[in-house]
């Protein structure tokens, strides 16, 4: 075996480990979305089911969370992209000697913990309200204590810095001579900005918008302080983890993963198509021969993969209409019933045996082993401690004596859904 084979083998193994580390959790999570077991799990595999998607779509909290996350995301994109663009343009115009100081100042919010940003946003706007003397119930007071308003502002403080980094990278390749040429040809400064600089920045604006939206959508640290009485997807999910989750979360994850792959493939397909058209225009490639395949697909594997994925999704949606796991679930229930019956019988037998051995001993209280009376954190994270002001229906029956994760891992949960 030559050394290059060894290296190639090692590299392959490394990549395998790396990608399983990267993607393994996502694959497992996606699978749990289709298991009928009430707690997200792959084994024991109960029944293949789409019911968690149903549960997800009927969950008002998650729906509201997604809705507000979306609104906040759009607001954050608008605010932080315009702030980032302005900041980056100022950076290119500002007096060279203070440029690095300015840069540090603008970039600082990225380095400040999100928690700090959240709290300071909350405090700052409260003070602004007081300073302006906005009375309780007035519009301004309402605005400065509005979760959506504050969250958009709070998130934009650091997301604008991300956006600025994207813009600065693009601006470095801009020839200021182009703006001068436009001015020289009679354009006003506004026209020069709109017709020359803005079109040049368009790709950067698109990627900064995507970046800003994703950063906003997944933000928790800042949002959890500024959101007040609203909720976003992240805050809803965080609550659910505390209160006990079911695989509808996995189905949400699955949907997000599929959408991401879809977007990535679509982007790649469009890029490939653009590159091919450019190559054809420069005479470096042959124009696609006329055939049954549309030119878009010519040598475009991403486009094929895109269509295949769309096909799979459509198939899944259509089978979901007819697929019914009821029979299977009944079987699982029956099997479980029999198993429980057998266990009860075994217990009864052993109890009878014990009774025979010593009549004075008290009977065992339960068939199932009860959870330990308290976990590592005592009752600190018990939902009852945190949800006093929230009307969570799930929170209504907190189990006493649950551990650090509430009753999530209580074995009794595994059966209750079937």
């Amino acid at each position: 075996m030559s050394s290059s084979t060894v290296i190639r083998f090692a590299l392959g193994a490394y990549l395998l480990v790396f990608f399983s580390y990267l993607l393994g959790p996502l694959v497992v999570m996606s699978m749990t979305a289709f298991n009928s077991s009430a707690f997200p799990s792959v084994s024991p595999w109960a029944c293949f089911t789409y019911e968690w998607f149903d549960v997800l779509l009927n969950d008002k909290h998650i729906r509201d969370g997604i809705y507000y996350s979306f609104i906040i995301g759009v607001g954050t994109v608008i605010l932080s992209v315009s702030m980032g663009l302005a900041a980056s343009i100022v950076l290119t115009q500002v007096w060279p000697r203070i440029r690095s100081t300015y840069y540090t100042m603008i970039i600082a919010p990225i380095l400040i913990p999100g928690v700090v940003l959240g709290i300071s946003t909350l405090v700052f706007w409260d003070r602004v309200g007081q300073f302006l003397g906005a009375p309780d119930g007035s519009f301004l007071h309402g605005l400065f204590h509005n979760g959506i308003f504050l969250t958009i502002l709070g998130q934009s403080t650091f997301i604008a810095s991300y956006a600025m980094l994207v813009f600065v990278a693009r601006l470095q390749r801009f020839d200021p001579g182009l703006t001068e040429a436009a001015l020289d040809l009679g354009a006003t400064h506004t026209q020069a900005f709109r017709k020359i600089l803005l079109p040049f920045m368009r790709p950067a604006i698109a990627s900064a918008s995507v970046l800003a939206f994703l950063a906003s959508f997944e933000n928790y640290n800042t949002t959890t302080f500024t959101i007040i009485d609203y909720k976003t997807l992240t805050t809803v999910l965080a609550q659910k983890v505390r209160l006990g989750i079911n695989p509808s979360i996995s189905s949400l994850a699955f949907i997000i993963i599929v959408l991401t792959i879809f977007a990535a493939l679509a982007f790649e397909a469009v890029q490939r198509n653009g590159r091919r058209r450019e190559a054809v225009a420069q005479g470096k490639a042959n124009p696609p021969s006329k055939g049954i395949i549309p030119p878009f697909f010519h040598g475009n594997f991403a486009a094929f993969a895109l269509v295949a994925l769309a096909f799979v999704v459509i198939m899944m949606v259509s089978t979901a209409q007819s697929h019914s796991p009821e029979v299977c679930k009944q079987q699982v229930r029956d099997a479980r019933q029999i198993e429980i019956q057998q266990r009860i019988d075994a217990l009864k037998k052993s109890r009878a045996l014990k009774e025979q051995q010593s009549n004075s001993e008290a009977a065992e209280p339960d068939a199932e082993p009860a959870p330990a009376s308290s976990g590592a954190f005592g009752g600190v994270f018990a939902p009852s401690n945190l949800s006093a002001d929230e009307e969570e229906p799930e929170a209504s029956e907190p189990k006493e004596g649950s551990g650090a994760f509430g009753n999530v891992f209580a074995p009794t949960n595994l059966d209750s859904g079937d």
Binding site: G177, G186, T188, K195
Partner: protein, 370 residues
């Protein structure tokens, strides 16, 4: 199309902090002229042009276009169009959109713009290429598009900042003729910047020669070449042999110079310096390589130079003979190729003759560095 409009620079000073980029520039350019600024890199040519187009305000002095003071008028309000050193075509716009940009910002309709762009594309011999992008054109084609874009704005004055410097020699020569033709056709004032003297001399009605922020001479190309007014102009424009020495005698417009190396030599005084040179002054005398001829030794002649050959180079249409000259400078003589095998041999002592009217004398000064 609008006919030429005069441009006047009056006592212009331009400073960047303590650095003086342009010093006391006084230039008046006639309407419809092809005027060139010629000078080495970094001498302030672009800076002057930016002051004319309005991208910077002179620290002192006045720019007048068509007699009107331009102080406080921005580049988009001046009747000038600038062709940038790097062309600055808009990469994301098609050629026809580039050309008609000035109409777009003025609010013209698409049909009007397209029509005018097509006319201009015809003029620059690029008909039918309007839908390409700048990246799809060759260097010379881009050049012509930049000219068309500037002309589309109907400027009174067209400013060109070394527009040919990026092109190869053949194309450059072709574009020179083409530019001159365009200028004659549209009849507007051209202000042209170059550090290539050949360009300046062939195209211009007038040339201003600049040295480190100072304009040394403004004259026709012919006069710049034949009657340089400073040692810098004499040595920067074309090739020249320099002889240093002191003025021994002055007879009208002629001076007898006692040179450091070649004895007493007779020369005419360059017109602008007549009367400024007196006996005993440090002087410089210049003789062009093509005006030197081989002759017999004649010790009494005041127009004969005796020197030893260093080497000889064959240049196709001529031979260049290099001889030991003043200090570290060699004397160059060029002899037309009339079928000879060679002119001289190494170390040979030659006698070079010249006509006193072909030599120019002037007060000593700074030479252009090679």
């Amino acid at each position: 199309m609008s006919s030429g409009v005069a441009v006047d620079l009056e006592n212009i000073w331009i400073r960047f902090g303590d650095f003086v980029a342009v010093r006391e520039a006084n230039v008046s350019i006639k309407g419809g002229d092809f005027f060139s600024f010629l000078g080495p890199s970094g001498c302030g040519k672009t800076t002057i042009l930016r002051a004319v187009s309005g991208f910077l305000e002179p620290s002192q002095g006045q720019v007048r276009i068509g007699g009107k003071d331009m102080a406080g008028i921005g580049p988009n309000k001046r009747p000038t169009a600038l062709i940038f050193q790097n062309l600055a075509l808009f990469p994301l716009m098609k050629i026809w959109e580039n050309i008609s940009f000035s109409m777009e910002v003025a609010g013209a309709s698409t049909a009007e713009r397209r029509k005018r762009a097509d006319e201009l594309l015809d003029m620059i011999a690029l008909e039918g290429q309007g839908d390409k992008y700048p990246s799809e054109l060759s260097g010379g084609q881009k050049q012509r598009v930049a000219i068309a874009r500037a002309l589309c704005a109907n400027p009174d004055v067209l400013l060109l900042d070394e527009p040919l410097s990026a092109l190869d020699l053949k194309l450059r020569q072709h574009m020179r003729t083409e530019l001159r033709e365009i200028q004659k056709r549209v009849g507007i004032t051209f202000i042209y910047i170059t550090h290539d003297q050949g360009e300046a001399l062939t195209m211009s009605d007038s040339v201003a020669v600049m040295k480190a922020g100072v304009i040394d001479q403004i004259d026709s190309g012919h006069n710049i070449y034949d009657h340089p007014s400073t040692p810098f102009v004499a040595s920067f424009v074309g090739e020249n042999n320099v002889f240093r020495g002191k003025v021994k005698e002055i007879k009208g417009n002629d001076a007898l110079i006692s040179t450091n190396r070649s004895g007493e030599l007779l020369s005419r005084i360059t017109p602008s310096q007549v009367g400024k040179l007196s006996v005993g002054d440090d002087a410089m005398m210049f003789i062009r390589p093509e005006t030197l001829r081989l002759g017999k030794a004649d010790a009494s002649s005041k127009t004969t130079i005796s020197a030893d050959v260093i080497n000889e180079e064959f240049e196709g249409n001529s031979f260049s003979v290099f001889l030991k000259g003043d200090g570290d400078k060699s004397i160059k003589m060029s002899v037309p190729n009339a079928g000879q095998d060679h002119i001289s041999s190494r170390g040979e002592n030659l006698s070079l003759h010249y006509d006193a009217t072909n030599a120019v004398a002037m007060p000593a000064g700074e030479l252009a560095s090679e």
